[in-house]
């Protein structure tokens, strides 16, 4: 008796799961339009949740197409690879990928393009096998803009220093390099102990920033690069009672930085909005799907991508650079809280 009931129970559960899957599947195949799927590095983190709001927005604007975002549950390039491979097999018309590791995807993306799938990437200007790589901004311009904001706060004079995630991080080095170049036009600005490595660790950055503050009691400014650097340096400035006396401008996200922005320990943060980047990627994919071409100065209809600059990419594809940098301070960060 007991066994029979067991079997019945199991049978019921299997039936239930099957139905649920069936319904979900029907929903996924309900629309007939072209499919654009955005594949992010990892799902469920604030950055890519923000990107998903952009993808959803784009989907609303284009109800005739199947537009969605997926991503692996763990930060592993092998998992992202599998998702993309399955999407290609499923017959997805266009892929908008934010590669976890561009090199690992090269082989697969090449096979995808050979098969006629449209491939667009983001945050991967070294990706060879892509039709278009969308970048939010020119790295040199971004670094210079951060430094200009810092110089403004410092009154164009005094000692300042820079932080990078690691010396091997190409973009970070480009940002601080452009910053130094910008600062060289102000003779009063003196760069000291440049390129401190933070390893994107707020605590480590905090310790390092304290050392810098002790060594240079008269330091006036910090320009930081990795996402958590502003938090570490901001805490060091606040604890040293130097809020308002030392300027801090760096890459960061509004939500985590909010408290320090309010207190004034962080002067301003710079970033690009993943929401807009997601929309821009999808728009590029749509244009390519329709057989169009991405041309220099084109308007993608997304804020920050109204006049993109198009260059030759790492491979045969194009590098599409927007002007999507955002620099916000105490008064403006609430407009883009994420």
């Amino acid at each position: 008796m007991k066994n029979a009931r067991h079997v019945l129970n199991t049978g019921l559960k299997v039936a239930l799961v099957t139905t649920v899957m069936g319904v979900a599947g029907q929903a996924a195949w309900a629309q007939d339009g072209k499919t654009i799927t955005t594949v992010v590095k990892i799902s469920g983190i604030p950055w890519f949740d923000r990107m998903e709001t952009g993808v959803d927005l784009y989907a609303q604007e284009h109800p005739e197409m199947n537009i969605s975002q997926v991503g692996p549950a763990t930060a592993d390039s092998a998992q992202q690879l599998q998702i993309i491979q399955d999407l290609i097999a499923k017959g997805t018309d266009a892929l908008a990928v934010v590669p976890m590791d561009p090199t690992i995807l090269e082989g697969l993306l090449k096979r995808a393009m050979d098969r006629g799938t449209i491939v667009v990437t983001h945050e991967a200007d070294n990706q060879v096998n892509t039709m278009a790589d969308v970048e939010a901004f020119d790295n040199a311009e971004y670094g210079a803009a951060l430094n200009a904001r810092l110089a403004e706060c410092m009154g164009q004079e005094g000692k300042w220093t820079t932080f990078v995630g690691s010396l091997g991080s190409r973009t970070h080095m480009q940002w601080v390099g452009a910053g130094e170049e910008n600062a060289s036009q102000y003779p009063g600005m003196e760069l000291v102990d440049a390129n401190n490595e933070s390893f994107d660790d707020a605590n480590g950055t905090y310790e390092k920033a304290k050392e810098v503050l002790r060594k240079h009691p008269d330091i006036k400014g910090f320009q930081t690069s990795a996402g958590n650097d502003v938090l570490g340096v901001g805490r060091a400035i606040e604890e040293a009672g130097l809020t308002g006396k030392v300027c801090l401008v760096g890459t960061g996200l509004p939500n985590p930085s909010a408290a320090y922005l309010d207190s004034g320990a962080i002067t301003a943060i710079g970033f690009w909005d993943p929401q807009k980047a997601g929309m821009a990627m999808n728009e590029v994919a749509r244009i390519l799907l329709d057989g169009g071409e991405i041309t220099d100065g084109m308007d993608l209809g997304v804020e920050g991508y109204n006049a993109v600059s198009v260059r030759q990419g790492a491979g045969e594809g194009k590098l599409v650079v927007g002007n999507g940098m955002v620099i916000v301070d105490k008064d403006t960060y609430k407009e883009r809280l994420f």
Binding site: H6, A73, D76, A78, Q82, I83, A89, K90, I104, G107
Partner: protein
């Protein structure tokens, strides 16, 4: 006398159900030749690592191999750098491919032997020993490659290995199946296979019976390492590039596959055919979920549920109860 293999039955049933379900919800695309091939090319790398885990588990005394994927990456990176320094991948493609593949297998084998020595000679608990070598292998791969990915390139023979088809079946999948058959035969018909299972079932008795336990365990971990090396070749062939941090999630997935296959974690029992089928089931399931477009967190949930189901099947002997089969003696035996 005949005891039904519950896991084998459930796995076969699951494959049929998943294929049917996939075909139904995707309107046939899931069953298209292209997707079947695509799924088959994804199985070998994780499948080979899972067989390695199975062998380690069979050896008993808490046997496990956590160093699989790290070993595979190290093999790919080290052999890649070596082969690239000798040959140009596109000038002499065949020579390059053979050097690279053999190099991978040698590095993998040496990694496995190191595991075996640490466990058998020094008596270190496998979970700790292989955790240590996992970090060592990863570290070596980072140092050798400066933390960057190594471009192996796609010379024709290597490309064919990872992406080619033979009679419509992906080459890498055929290699995987071939290795599975060979290992199954070895475990079933050679003295080594029998001794491995007996050692796993009762290490103490094995020692008193005069089995060369140390050699058996070292051989087992060496085979596991060799499989990791072959996985390294396949990874490189598929992805063009190899990197030290590829497949960090494979570690637990490989163990999941082995446990789903009914390999006894205490040692002494495991069938290669089940591990192969189990790897296939996991692939069918994750591809199906990707087809439906469900979040990848659902996949973790589904995998977890599946694992619990299999544990229940094994614990309560469900299949045999349902079949009203008379219980038979539980003897450790090596079978295909």
């Amino acid at each position: 006398m005949v005891k039904r293999d519950a896991n084998l039955l459930v796995l076969c049933a699951l494959i049929v159900v998943l294929l049917g379900l996939g075909g139904a919800v995707s309107g046939g695309t899931y069953l298209s030749m292209f997707n079947l091939q695509s799924m088959a090319t994804q199985v070998p790398e994780i499948g080979l690592l899972a067989i390695g885990v199975m062998l380690a588990m069979c050896a008993g005394s808490g046997g496990i191999d956590l160093s699989g994927i790290a070993n595979a990456n190290m093999a790919g990176v080290a052999s890649g750098i070596f082969a690239l320094s000798l040959f140009d991948a596109y000038q002499s493609p065949m020579l390059f491919t053979v050097t690279f593949a053999v190099g991978c297998m040698i590095v993998g084998l040496m990694g496995g032997i190191l595991n075996g020595i640490i466990i058998a000679r020094f008596g270190i608990t496998p979970i700790l020993g292989t955790l240590g070598t996992q970090m060592l292998f990863t570290g070596l791969a980072v140092v050798l490659s400066d933390g960057r990915s190594v471009t192996i390139g796609a010379p024709d023979p290597l490309y064919a290995l990872g992406n080619g088809l033979i009679f419509g079946v992906p080459t890498s999948f055929l290699i995987f199946i071939l290795i599975g058959i060979v290992l199954a035969l070895v475990l079933r018909f050679t003295p080594y296979g029998l001794r491995l299972m007996l050692t796993g079932a009762n290490p103490k008795a094995a020692i008193y019976s005069g089995f060369p336990s140390g050699r058996i365990i070292t051989t087992t971990y060496a085979i596991s390492g060799l499989l990791a090396g072959i996985a390294g070749v396949i990874i490189a062939a598929r992805n063009v590039n190899v990197k030290w941090d590829y497949g960090t999630s494979y570690l637990l997935v490989a163990i999941l596959i082995a446990v789903m296959a009914g390999v006894r974690p205490e040692g002494g029992y495991g069938r290669v055919v089940n591990v192969v089928l189990s790897a296939v089931v996991l692939q069918l399931l994750s591809s199906l979920l990707n087809f439906i477009g469900l979040s990848n967190f659902v996949r973790d949930l589904a995998w977890g549920a599946l694992l619990l189901c299999f544990l229940a099947v094994a614990r309560f002997d469900l299949i045999n109860q349902v079949m009203v089969f008379r219980p038979s003696r539980r003897i450790p035996h090596a079978t295909k």
